[in-house]
Symmetry: D2
């Protein structure tokens, strides 16, 4: 059955903080990707699948930062599939700690194959992956 | 005289690439911040000014990725001030290599002071900084 | 009862790999620190303890790399306390995946307090921490 | 003429600091590699040379940390070739800011080729590279 939602947690590591004493904003994007890859594993797949021979470059990403995260905070990352086309998937990510939302962002990935010249070219999402993922219902995304 | 534009370059470092052979998307956000801090230095200031005792957390960031960057590519980062209020500055960043734009993004920073309780609170941009920075004209931003 | 050993695992994240397709060597040092901090949590403490007001800068670190780690490898990190003085702790870390040791390294941390001038000065490890940690027996370290 | 020495500088970036307000120790290893790659460019070569089809994995690295580096410090990195064999090069790196040495470390890299099975195998350093690099004289290394 296709999935549109996934939740994972991680604890803030010391090297992810900066001299302002909080998680460097660039690391929220790494957390997003971390959740995306864990989502794929939860579906029994790997984002890096040697047989499928596809890649998933990000074509857009964004994030709104509401409250800082600090060292050793336990962060819950809630992934929602906000859109899906034949060649792309858009995810929304909500970050919270202790029940408080601290950030919300997202990114769009495009399924690509390498051409013989070594350039990335958009490709249809393979059916074995497409069957596992669906867009979340409107009401969940509006939350 | 207030400035609204700045250009700097850097060369892609090996640790900034990932197993896809390209710069990890999160590093474009580090490049943006790198340009912001170099912009401040070009104005004779530091983003971390012990006397002013302010901080500049990011409240929003975004980026569109058009082409990948690879190891040792020389990247030109073109900063434009796209908006300025009494307490915030919004920047646009255009990334190019060899004359081709590869990505475009931006972020909004808010000027803050720490309260006695150690929380960040929005504050007016100090006049000595505000006098140095202005929003770029419409036509430059539309380019 | 004082502890001299601890084991934790983590999965290689995509941003930790580089264009050679393997974990960037600098990240093994981040994995070491990750294990050190998890060791402290396992003792009911945090490495960042606001009340104790101490720091633990690294004064030496090293690592031998035997085999590469790849994306999504599950890495076991085995921490051993190899030496302890009144002001410092030396750790050994063994990295393995699938039962094969891939790297072995270590670091020495010194307990410090900040002077009034803001400089770090070596200090005795507080007794409540010192009581929890002991050097591992010779035979374990020789393994 | 073969070279055994090289100096480069970089300025500490904000994302390289941590919540202790200083450069995270793992980043000194990234600075070492940065200097190694700049050294190759100074010789008219790239460490990533598609035609030579070799790699340079690190088999050992170490560093002693004497004083902390802070945001925007200008760091001088002094590279010395401390040893060279038919298949490996060992480098020493001295880090200083404002004329004061803050850290000293090094690493050993082995020249490798990929076997058909995709494993890295030690290989002779290609003559066009070997001719450009020599070990530094004893007295320089002892400094």
């Amino acid at each position: 059955m296709a999935q549109h939602e996934f939740t994972t947690t991680r604890r803030v590591e010391f090297n992810e903080t900066d001299a302002a004493g909080i998680v460097h904003f660039s690391n929220f994007y790494r957390y997003m990707e971390y959740a995306e890859h864990a989502f794929f594993r939860s579906l029994g797949r790997s984002i890096a699948d040697a047989e499928l021979d596809i890649g998933w470059p990000r074509v857009h990403s964004h994030c709104d930062f509401k409250k800082p995260l600090k060292f050793e905070d336990e962060v819950e990352i809630h992934l929602l599939v906000s859109a899906k086309t034949s060649k792309s998937i858009t995810y929304q990510f909500r970050f919270s700690t202790g029940g408080t939302e601290v950030a919300r962002g997202g990114f769009t990935v495009v399924c690509v194959r390498l051409t013989e010249a070594g350039e990335m070219k958009a490709a249809s999402i393979p059916p074995e992956i497409a069957a596992l993922i669906e867009a979340a219902p409107e009401e969940k995304l509006a939350g």
